[in-house]
């Protein structure tokens, strides 16, 4: 076996030892980190109080407001409610 081949085998042995050494140090470092800084589950999100779903066909507050405003406007303008349409109500 020539010298170069022997050298390459020696180098390979040393290099593998160095890699295992470095990575073993990393393993213990990671274990230490995980031990010192353990995972904590995030606190559960507070649940919002569930409101009973409104019946689909029941008029909402906005619908009622629109109906009232439409009738008042119709009365004020002396028109029938069907002649004008209030489409949106914004509260301040």
């Amino acid at each position: 076996m020539n010298d170069a081949l022997l050298t390459s085998i020696t180098v390979s042995g040393i290099a593998i030892l160095v890699i295992f050494l470095v990575l073993t140090i990393l393993i213990f470092t990671i274990k230490l980190l995980v031990h010192l800084l353990p995972y904590k589950a995030p606190p559960p999100q507070p649940r919002k109080a569930q409101q009973p779903p409104a019946p689909q066909n029941a008029p909402s507050d906005v619908d009622t407001d629109i109906a009232v405003i439409t009738s008042v406007m119709a009365s004020h303008l002396s028109r029938t409610p069907g002649n004008h349409q209030v489409i949106n109500v914004q509260s301040r």
Binding site: S8, S12, I16, I19, I27, T29
Partner: protein
């Protein structure tokens, strides 16, 4: 100036590439077309083999000034990024930004599988010396077994720049062949019972550990192997961008635009070094054969170490995840999952295999660091190289 019709026609003919092309360049154009075919139609690492193939094609067109050695040529400028080790670390920055070290942190002993897979590097080193390469060349060839393209290019540019082209092509070609190379070796070295082992679910890891990890790895590894700092430091910086949560823009840029741009520059630069003089040699065939040996031995080393861990842990480790110890992220992990699922379709090994897979990235970078510590000139590229870059920049400014 008087020109006759025949004289003008002759002059135009002599100014074309056809008059200057030689047989070596014709063969290399064929090689370029094969690479393009493999990339486009066979989908073999297309993101790399396509620009490498096209770079090779342009470099072998006579009078195009696209060879890596053509001073002032476009690809010569790109090649400076390889020569001065700028591009591979930037790729590592992007890889770090893309990598989740969570599975590794949840099961840190899988780092040993990343180390075991480096056995392929060292058996190939011995094989290369046996075939007549010197130790520096053999180291550059052996690192192909790390299945990590940027690391292969980084080491080749430092230890054996004249072998850069065949080493890069072999590394990326075999990386694309991981799904074909690994499964037969994995099946051959494991029993059906071992392949069916189901591993326990990974523990969650705190975000603080994920943030501290890249900093600690950089300090420990770069103090032990300073030569590896450009690669490992950038890998960990990219990962810190990802995990810190305060650099969203840098993280996004690193994992998308930057890595894509650098990949184009790196692959074109490698392609431009594929000239007939550097590629059509007996050494290239030897490197291709040694590259295959490197991948096979790396896979076998990982699987055999996985078997050992399985025995020592009382059957809690599936040895198939050992094959993912070669880098090739995430393809090698997918192969572990696929071979495991063939035996038992309810066995999900992917996340377990990601641990050794990312460990392989660290392992191959450490292996590179060991080679550079042993054979590299710690002062290289040194101040004179930076002066060389400065002179190139100054000549551009003067123009």
């Amino acid at each position: 100036m008087e020109l006759t019709f025949s004289g003008a026609a002759l002059q135009i003919l002599q100014s074309t590439g056809f008059s200057a092309i030689n047989s070596g360049q014709v063969i290399m154009l064929g090689v370029a077309c094969v690479l393009l075919y493999l990339a486009i139609w066979k989908k073999f690492e297309p993101l790399l083999l396509l620009p490498i193939g096209f770079g090779c094609l342009m470099a072998n067109l006579p009078m195009s000034m696209m060879m890596s050695t053509d001073d002032g040529g476009l690809l010569n400028f790109f090649y400076q990024g390889v020569k001065y080790e700028i591009l591979p670390p930037l790729i590592f920055l992007g890889v770090g930004a893309l990598t989740d070290f969570g599975p590794l942190l949840a099961n840190p002993t899988t780092l040993l599988l990343g180390a075991a897979a480096q056995i392929g590097v060292y058996t190939t080193l011995v094989g290369a010396v046996y075939l007549g390469f010197d130790l520096q060349e053999a180291s550059a060839i052996g690192i192909i077994g790390g299945a990590d393209g940027p690391t292969s290019i980084f080491i080749a540019s430092k230890l054996a720049p004249h072998l850069l082209a065949p080493i890069a092509v072999a590394a990326y070609s075999y990386m694309s062949l991981v799904p074909l190379i690994q499964p037969p070796i994995m099946r051959w070295l494991t029993t059906g019972k071992e392949r069916k082992i189901k591993m326990a679910q990974l523990k969650p890891i705190s975000q603080t550990v994920k943030i501290v990890f890249p900093i600690v790895v950089t300090i420990i590894c770069c103090l032990m192997l300073p030569a590896v700092t450009p690669l490992l430091g950038m890998l960990m910086l990219g990962n810190l961008f990802r995990e810190s949560g305060v650099t969203a823009r840098l993280h996004e840029t690193s994992e998308t635009h930057l890595i894509n741009i650098v990949t184009i520059l790196l692959a074109l630069a490698v392609g431009s070094s594929m000239t007939a003089e550097s590629f059509l040699k007996l050494e290239t065939i030897k490197i291709i054969v040694l590259g295959l040996l490197a991948f096979c031995m790396a896979t076998a080393g990982g699987v055999l170490f996985g078997k050992l861990m399985s025995k020592l842990s009382g059957g809690k480790v599936n040895p198939l995840i050992g094959s993912a110890g070669v880098s090739a992220v995430p393809m090698a992990a997918r192969v572990s999952q696929k071979v495991g699922a063939e035996e038992d379709h309810t066995n999900f090994l992917l996340m377990h295999a990601m641990g050794p897979n990312v460990a392989g990235v660290i392992g191959s970078a450490v292996a590179a660091g060991v080679f550079l510590s042993l054979f590299g000139d710690p002062t290289a590229p040194g101040p004179e190289s930076h002066a060389a870059i400065e002179s190139v920049v100054q000549s551009m400014v003067q123009r």
